[in-house]
């Protein structure tokens, strides 16, 4: 019995059952190597169908212009920018799990990080659609890039938060993709070396980039992961900070507040963790990975949800206090009339937000609730509805009654194409996720093996026996002479 890898017995095991390294490989590669199940085909085809409707909706918008949407004077940002901020926020949990928890040396991240990182990438792809198609003349989208042009060259405005967004989101996407793929290389090599069929050998052979598992390569790989995690951590905070600057640097009542950056980042992690729960509760069941994504993982993520949900709650209350304390009549109107007042046209959306984001997650203070799969799934949906409404409240309730009361009358409701576009991004997201779960291992193989002897149930039991021995017995059995 080796004590190379010791971990406190107070910590519950992260891998259940009696596993060795080979068994881990078998368990995690099984869903990738087996033929797709009926459930997979049904889910995949539904996703593709929804994506097709999304493409139709976008096509309508490209042909007829943004007039296909119900955006109008005062409400120039509606569902599209709401959805943009919502999707970007969802991505943040993946980076939190993969990067920040790596720096904090949280062993439990290994069970969920690969799927969460994939979620990040797909969510950022979905998010990026909204500002791009919102431009209307999408064929001119490259105007946002600072390239030498024939107009002077006239450079883009580097002082504008909207341009910061361009840089933030494209950097975030690139770095997340690199981080995810560099972590995936050793696992793809495992699949390559197990492949029997010709196309699998070819596909994983190309994808694994010739990885061998040499010690020197592992040394560099570890260094790379650590530095990329170190870079991603401030990056993920900067991305949602910059998204919040889109609002906070304006002089619109309800947007013009300094609390936005931390408040947006907490909200992003909150909604992202909810999405991770939605995906993993299903994934672990369908792919039979309950021993790797355990109730313990679900429990820990629910703790993060109750923490970030409460931070968001405090931010809401702080906003209200600051609006009152500022004694600015416009701020007061935006918060206490447009939002808080249930009888105002959009009052209902504020209270949906409050109910879903602040009140409902408080149920996770109870251990039994955190460990209930059905409740977790239900709550994860509820929270994402709440977080969507948060962005809706911020955007629409601030602009639909602007400084000019004569423009107030119009109530903003989305058209079928606006809703279709949003639905279409769900189609895109789930199409990508279904393909990912079919062709790539959803759990980081090499990383699970790394923690197996420290956190595996079987190995912890062995350590239990060791701990029960007295010190004298232990030294007698396992010690050897260092001295003479």
């Amino acid at each position: 019995m080796s004590l190379l890898r010791y971990e406190s017995q107070v910590r519950p095991p992260l891998v259940e059952g009696d596993k060795d390294y080979h068994q881990v490989t078998e368990d995690i590669c099984r869903p990738v190597e087996a033929r797709p199940t009926k459930a997979w085909w049904i889910g995949f085809l539904i996703s593709v169908a929804v994506l097709a409707f999304g493409i139709l909706s976008v096509t309508m918008e490209v042909i007829y212009g943004t007039g296909q949407w119900n955006l109008h004077k005062t409400v120039g940002w509606g569902w599209d920018i709401t959805n943009f901020v919502w999707w970007i926020g969802i991505g943040h949990a993946g980076t939190l799990i993969s990067a920040i928890l790596l720096l904090f040396r949280q062993g439990w991240r290994t069970g969920v990080n690969r799927a969460a990182e994939a979620m990040t990438i797909f969510a950022v792809i979905c998010a990026g659609q909204f500002p791009i198609w919102h431009m209307g003349r999408v064929w001119n989208a490259f105007f946002v890039l600072p390239y030498p042009n024939t107009r002077g060259p006239l450079w883009v405005n580097f002082n504008s938060p909207l341009l910061w967004d361009v840089f933030a989101i494209s950097t975030y996407f690139t770095v997340s993709l690199l981080f995810w793929y560099s972590g995936l290389i050793p696992d793809l090599a495992t699949l390559r070396d197990r492949a029997r069929k010709k196309w699998r050998k070819l596909f994983y052979g190309i994808a694994a980039l010739g990885w061998t598992g040499s010690t020197k390569h592992w040394q560099r790989h570890e260094a790379l992961s650590l530095v990329l995690a170190g870079l991603s951590t401030p990056l993920v905070l900067s991305v949602h900070t910059i998204v919040s600057f889109d609002f906070a640097t304006s002089v619109v009542p309800g947007w013009h507040t300094t609390i936005f950056p931390p408040y947006f980042v907490a909200g992003a992690i909150f909604s992202g963790f909810a999405m991770v729960q939605t995906l993993l509760v299903i994934t672990r069941k369908v792919l039979g990975l309950e021993e790797y994504i355990t109730i313990e993982h679900i429990d820990v993520m629910n703790k993060v949800i109750v923490l970030t949900g409460s931070i968001v709650g405090i931010a809401y209350l702080t906003e209200l206090f600051m609006a009152w304390y500022s004694a600015v009549e416009y701020e007061n109107f935006a918060f206490f009339e447009n939002r808080l007042n249930l009888n105002s046209p959009y009052g209902w959306s504020y209270w949906i937000m409050m109910g879903c984001n602040v009140l409902s997650p408080q149920i996770f203070w109870f251990r039994k609730m955190r460990r209930s799969l059905i409740l977790t799934f239900f709550m994860s949906i509820l929270i994402n509805i709440g977080m969507w409404f948060e962005r809706f409240v911020i955007i629409v309730t601030s602009v639909y009654r602007d400084y000019l009361p004569s423009a107030w009358a119009t109530y903003y409701t989305p058209t079928i194409w606006e809703v279709g576009f949003y639905m279409g991004t769900f189609g895109l997201f789930f199409t990508c996720y279904f393909l990912f779960s079919k062709f790539f291992p959803v759990i980081a193989l090499a990383e699970i093996k790394h923690i197996l002897k420290r956190s595996g149930e079987h190995y912890k039991e062995k350590m239990d026996e060791l701990e029960e021995e007295s010190t004298e017995e232990f030294v007698e059995k396992h010690g050897h002479d260092h001295g003479a």
Binding site: L4, T212, S214, L231
Partner: protein
């Protein structure tokens, strides 16, 4: 290409592998490489490999990104085409911090990943030999390089005596696809025995 002779030994427990690596080095054999299914912390030290300088490369890429962003924006907004944004100064550094930061991260990440791929010679369609296909599954494969003086039978029985489950002689054509760490490997020194990466002795 010259053909070289190697002896590979399979290990199934990293707790056996660690002392074995030390014993092999002490006995004077030349370790070609150890192939493992996951990163084993301290194994590089035990093998006498130098630390990687990838971090330094990352830092250099990062400051390149910072300099590019600040330099380009300064030139574009103060020299090439001055634009008056609400009467603010042309050189408005605080407003450029977000983009400067993003480019710093972007340059560093892309640069590091490309450098990593270059150093480890990873690219699509690259085929490499790693002696045992199960080294990406559950087997730790230690490979010794044979010289003219090496007695194979002796080396194999030595590997078995220190815990290798199976041993094998393999002939390989040498070349970049096998990896060469001669320059990277320090000679065995006495102090290696008490250095980092040493398993906990009880």
């Amino acid at each position: 290409m010259a053909v070289k002779k190697f002896i590979s030994g399979n290990f199934y427990d990293e707790a056996v592998l660690f002392p074995a690596v030390k014993k092999v080095r002490r006995a004077g054999y030349k370790i070609h490489d150890v192939y493992t299914p996951f990163a084993i912390h301290g194994l590089d030290k035990a093998m006498g490999l130098r630390d990687t300088s990838l971090h330094t490369a990352g830092f250099i890429y990062a400051i390149t990104g910072t300099a590019t962003a600040v330099g380009f924006i300064t030139w574009a907004l103060t020299v090439d085409w001055q634009l008056n944004f609400g009467g603010k100064p042309f050189f408005s550094l605080p407003a450029w911090i977000p983009i400067t930061f993003e480019l710093t991260v972007l340059f560093s990440s892309i640069g590091m990943v490309l450098t990593f791929c270059y150093l480890c010679q990873l690219a699509p369609f690259v085929k490499k030999d790693h002696f045992n296909l199960r080294s990406t599954d559950d087997t730790f494969v230690m490979v010794l390089e044979c010289t003219d003086k090496t007695n194979e039978a002796e080396a194999m029985s030595f590997l078995q005596s220190i815990g290798a489950s199976e041993t094998q002689v393999q002939y390989k054509e040498t070349g970049w696809w096998l990896g060469r760490y001669d320059k990277n490997t320090r000679r065995f020194e006495r102090k290696d025995l008490s250095g980092a990466g040493e398993p906990v002795h009880l």
